[in-house]
């Protein structure tokens, strides 16, 4: 009797686990399709904001993907960091600082490639500072990256001279003509280089997550730090590396946005840490670490960008903070319920 009931229970639960597993793996694509379908079916003729016509208009899609480049390039590395159980609240400030640095280099006559590489190196350095604070000095990640959030933001603001809000043409200096081609000019399928860099970074990270040791180490560190340490993984080095690559991708995001807007705005990354967390949670990554997929965060980023751009046509801009905040809470709550179901079975 006992064994029979147990068996039936077990088989029922495995079925439940299968369903919730399937849901966990693929729901994000349904959400994307649903969001796009809703936005596409809305009768937007009276708004005249999607450049004459439907949400699925080619120009509109290209525009959304162009604006998404900074978030897309950040989503993957941020996922890996959160999979390892750590967090970086300073990404917005790293973005702002690298946008300013990149614009400063460009306006002072440094050609594209050196400016690009130098900004990336600075991003790596900023990430390394985070890594040192967290790994070496053992400061709680939230506090450590709050400190650097303030620090990098201050540095970015100081680099822009008083009385001007951003680095731009003027005072005898002129932005070079190539400056906004990285983030705007279509190179392939009418999409700019910034988008293709984001796509390449994501593919690279998917390979790293599935095949590379870094991905495995990150998951092990997040799943059970003590066990990871005992099985010989250098968790400190893993976390440090992850902070550095998050720094680099935040710098890439800063370059993309700076190039798109044609100016170096120290505040251009404000709130990015929130959007990044939202995107990663939407992708089903558990905040406690150990679980999560880069590709799902990429899709999550597309959803958020489609929503924010699409929303602008339906409601005024001042609804955005409320919607993003609610989405964050909703994503966190649904994550909780999905993982709860998975654990119960």
């Amino acid at each position: 009797m006992m064994s029979i009931t147990q068996q039936t229970n077990a088989s029922e639960l495995t079925f439940g686990a299968k369903v919730s597993g399937f849901f966990q793996n693929y729901y994000i694509y349904f959400v994307l399709v649903a969001v796009v379908a809703i936005l596409a079916s809305a009768n937007l003729d009276q708004f005249d904001l999607f450049e004459r016509g439907n949400f699925l208009n080619k120009r509109n899609i290209i525009n959304i993907l162009r604006i998404s480049a900074p978030l897309l390039v950040l989503a993957g590395t941020f996922t890996l960091l959160m999979v390892s159980g750590y967090i970086d609240l300073s990404v917005g400030s790293v973005m702002g600082l690298s946008a300013v640095v990149y614009a400063l280099l460009a306006i002072n006559g440094v050609p594209f490639l050196p400016a690009f590489v130098l900004t990336m190196i600075i991003g790596a350095g900023l990430g390394a500072i985070n890594g040192l604070l967290v790994v070496r000095l053992n400061i709680t990640p939230v506090i450590a990256t709050l400190i650097t959030l303030s620090l990098f933001k201050g540095a970015a603001l100081l680099l822009v001279q008083d009385g001007v809000s951003a680095i731009k043409s003027g005072n005898g200096l002129k932005m070079p003509s190539w400056f906004n081609s990285y983030g705007r000019e279509g190179v392939l399928l009418n999409l700019p280089a910034s988008f293709w860099v984001a796509a390449a970074v994501t593919i690279l990270l998917i390979i790293i997550q599935n095949r590379g040791t870094l991905g495995k180490y990150a998951a092990a560190t997040g799943g059970n730090p003590t066990a990871a340490k005992l099985s010989g993984i250098n968790t400190g080095r893993t976390v440090f590396t992850l902070y550095v690559i998050v720094g680099v991708s935040a710098a890439l995001a800063g370059i993309a946005r700076s190039s798109f807007m044609s100016l170096g705005d120290p505040l251009s990354g404000d709130g990015m840490e929130l959007t990044a967390i939202l995107v990663v949670l939407l992708g089903g990554t558990a905040f406690s670490g150990g679980e999560g997929k880069v590709l799902r965060s990429f899709v999550g980023a597309l959803i958020i960008m489609a929503l924010t751009v699409g929303m602008l046509t339906i409601v005024p801009a001042y609804y955005q903070a409320f919607v993003i905040g609610s989405a964050l809470l909703l994503a966190a709550a649904s994550n909780h319920f999905i993982s709860q179901k998975g654990k119960a079975s």
Partner: protein, 341 residues
């Protein structure tokens, strides 16, 4: 004989002081030391009026810091207080504005002012309840939850004010509370309220069961659970208190400026967290004091106002804050490790 034992007795007395009292004393001494240093460097800094200003200019952040410190001691973040300040201020204005204005932003609900403040406080408590629901019931990390509710609260304020502010068609008594001066001096009601709140907080923290339970929960959640403490309800109460304080601060600020501005209290949640950390409250939980938080606020105020006195650009404040928190955390860890060696 007595000559020999005396030094040991002093040593024993010294050991009797808890780690917490030690850190609080350290923070207090740093605050005073910094003030004296600034007095040397900055002309006209060493004045009674300046000391008063350092406290009165920061009444809002210090008041918020009380709720935030208690939550930190229990091992939870509250980053929603800045949003709640904006929300309750805007709500109090919206409820109090008379009906039938010329445009949407000058038309409110026309409640009498006392009712309007109560309803605004209700809005603040609703956000606090939301924090508690997500943190306690759904067990989502408090940093994520309160970042979300911070945006939700500010978002509602932005929707009500259409992203700007409401300041017309207000009843005449609206500006009364925030600008009421007391005891025939220039000290205003909000400052007195801050001092009263601080005193109550110190008493609750030191002498009442409620305060001690907060420490136990922060120090060891499982042990607290096992010893029969209703942890969920206790943290719920802490979130509600923090939201209530933030709500009152928002209403008083709205009254002081006679406007409901959706960007009011921006970054205040970070400042409240910063002063708590400067004051030795540990995010690992179970450690810290409200007095320390108060002197943490003084440290930050001295550093920023001295920087302004030395004619540094206001952009420096971000770097100064970062350096101050970094030094505070590193020295506190170092001092405690050395003391307990």
């Amino acid at each position: 004989m007595s000559i020999v034992t005396e030094p040991f007795q002093i040593l024993k007395l010294h050991r009797k002081m808890s780690d917490e009292a030690f850190i609080t004393m350290l923070v207090t001494m740093v605050a005073i030391g910094l003030f004296l240093t600034a007095s040397f460097l900055v002309p006209n800094f060493f004045q009674w009026q300046n000391v008063v200003n350092l406290v009165t200019n920061n009444w809002a952040v210090i008041s918020l810091g009380i709720g935030v410190s208690f939550l930190l001691v229990s091992g939870n973040f509250d980053l929603s207080v800045g949003g709640i300040v904006a929300l309750s201020g805007v709500l109090s204005v919206w409820f109090a504005q008379s009906t039938g204005g010329t445009n949407p932003l000058s038309t409110g609900l026309g409640f009498p002012y006392p009712l309007a403040t109560i309803c605004a406080l209700g809005g603040a408590l609703a956000i606090g309840a939301m924090n508690a629901l997500f943190v306690v019931r759904f067990k989502i990390p408090s940093i994520i939850v309160t970042l979300g509710t911070m945006m939700v609260a500010r978002g509602i304020a932005q929707i009500i004010t259409h992203g700007s502010q409401r300041n017309t068609n207000l009843p005449s008594e609206f500006g009364f509370l925030g600008n009421l001066t007391m005891f025939g001096t220039s000290i205003k009601l909000p400052v007195v309220l801050m001092i009263v709140l601080l005193l109550i907080a110190v008493f609750v923290e030191r002498k009442m069961v409620f305060g001690r339970i907060t420490y136990w929960i922060g120090a060891n959640p499982e042990a607290a659970d096992l010893s029969g403490i209703d942890r969920a309800w206790h943290i719920t109460k802490l979130y509600l208190f923090s939201a209530a304080i933030a709500g009152v601060v928002g209403i008083l600020l709205a009254s002081e400026y006679q406007s409901g501005f959706s960007n009011r209290g921006l970054l205040m949640e970070f400042d409240a967290l910063v002063i708590a950390l400067l004051g030795g409250v540990a995010i690992t939980g179970g450690f810290g004091s409200v007095i320390g938080m108060f002197f943490g606020a003084i440290i930050l105020a001295v550093v920023t106002s001295a920087a302004t006195g030395l004619v540094l650009s206001p952009d420096w404040q971000f770097i100064l804050k970062a350096v101050a928190v970094f030094l505070a955390i590193v020295t506190q860890t170092w001092a405690l490790a050395r003391r307990n060696r």
